[in-house]
């Protein structure tokens, strides 16, 4: 299996950002969509 060259990241600014927020938001929306669908079915 061939893999591409990775991109080096040399610097992380000191921030207050929380990790994985993009994914956490997305999963929350996925859950809400499913709940809406379930409610519509019942």
């Amino acid at each position: 299996m061939i893999f591409p060259e990775g991109q080096p990241v040399s610097f992380f600014p000191d921030t207050n950002d929380l990790p994985c927020q993009q994914s956490a938001e997305h999963m929350e929306k996925l859950k809400q969509k499913e709940e809406t669908r379930q409610n519509a079915d019942t």
Partner: protein, 266 residues
């Protein structure tokens, strides 16, 4: 059946002037990407001083249906249902078990994803001169599910698998037996108020792993959700702390004191 293609990955070396002693493979959650999970690095850096690690984070294989810069390791978007993670696997209907089967098998399943990722991990170990016993696989949400699957199905045992807010896919003992090749130590971190991937799924995962002789610890984060928003700051700080304990033999004392002082003030 082809295995999925890994197109993009990033890496960070904590101290480029020294030989690294640890490889930290980070698998983001559904809808996220390498940059999303790399935001964990500053939190980790605050509690580790004496471990020179390399963090590697690929973008997942399949573009998210709804986010142009979001990806998923296997098709959870078309198969997600809250009930799958909140009910015992044995009580699910055939249609519900089919959703798990869709996430597990086929071109867009977790099994095929693990094949590519384990080859990729071999590639990284060779590139950076590190071995399985110097490797930790860390995943969040769907990334945790993927980390668990690749960790147990790998030909060699890594140092640890850390799964945050995730579970086995499926959390079923019979399916597990078919995948089980090696038994790395496992750390599960999960909020007890997680309404996306219910805490129950982590309990099921812990039970299956324990029954199969794993050294597994489930750190239940009381009152915490899936990890979204400012109210999850404590969840992420604790995750960094638990991860640091795994990575470094002694996380820095001053940082530990700061961490616990912040907790007490809340």
């Amino acid at each position: 059946m082809p295995t999925p293609e890994l197109k993009n990955w990033k890496y960070y070396i904590a101290d480029p002037s020294k030989k690294p002693s640890l490889l930290f493979l980070m698998l983001h959650g559904c809808g996220g990407n390498a940059d999303d999970i790399f935001k964990f690095i500053p939190l980790l850096r605050n509690v580790i001083k004496n471990e020179n690690f390399i963090a590697v984070a690929p973008d997942a294989f399949w573009q998210s249906c709804e986010k142009a810069d979001g990806y998923q390791w296997f098709d959870i978007e078309n198969n997600y249902a809250k009930k799958l993670f909140s009910s015992p696997y044995a009580t699910l209907t055939d249609a519900e078990k089919e959703k798990f089967a869709n996430m597990e098998k086929g071109e867009k399943g977790v099994v095929k994803a693990s094949e590519t990722l384990n080859c990729f991990l071999d590639f990284c170990q060779k590139k950076f001169g590190l071995k399985n016993e110097q490797t930790i696989i860390f995943g969040y949400s769907q990334g945790a599910m993927q980390a668990l699957d690749m960790g147990i199905s790998r030909s060699g045992k890594v140092k640890k698998v850390i799964g945050v807010a995730g579970c086995l896919i499926p959390p079923d003992k019979e399916s597990f037996k078919k995948r089980h090749m090696v038994s790395p130590d496992v750390l599960l971190i999960h909020g007890t108020k997680d309404t996306v991937i219910d805490f129950h799924a982590a309990k099921q995962t812990e039970e299956i792993l324990k029954q199969n002789g794993f050294n597994v610890t489930l750190c239940a984060q009381k009152g915490m959700g899936h990890g979204r928003g400012e109210e999850s700051r404590s969840f992420w700080l604790k995750t960094a702390w638990y991860t640091a304990k795994t990575m470094a033999s002694k996380p820095t004392l001053s940082k530990i004191n700061t961490f616990f002082a912040q907790r007490q003030r809340r």
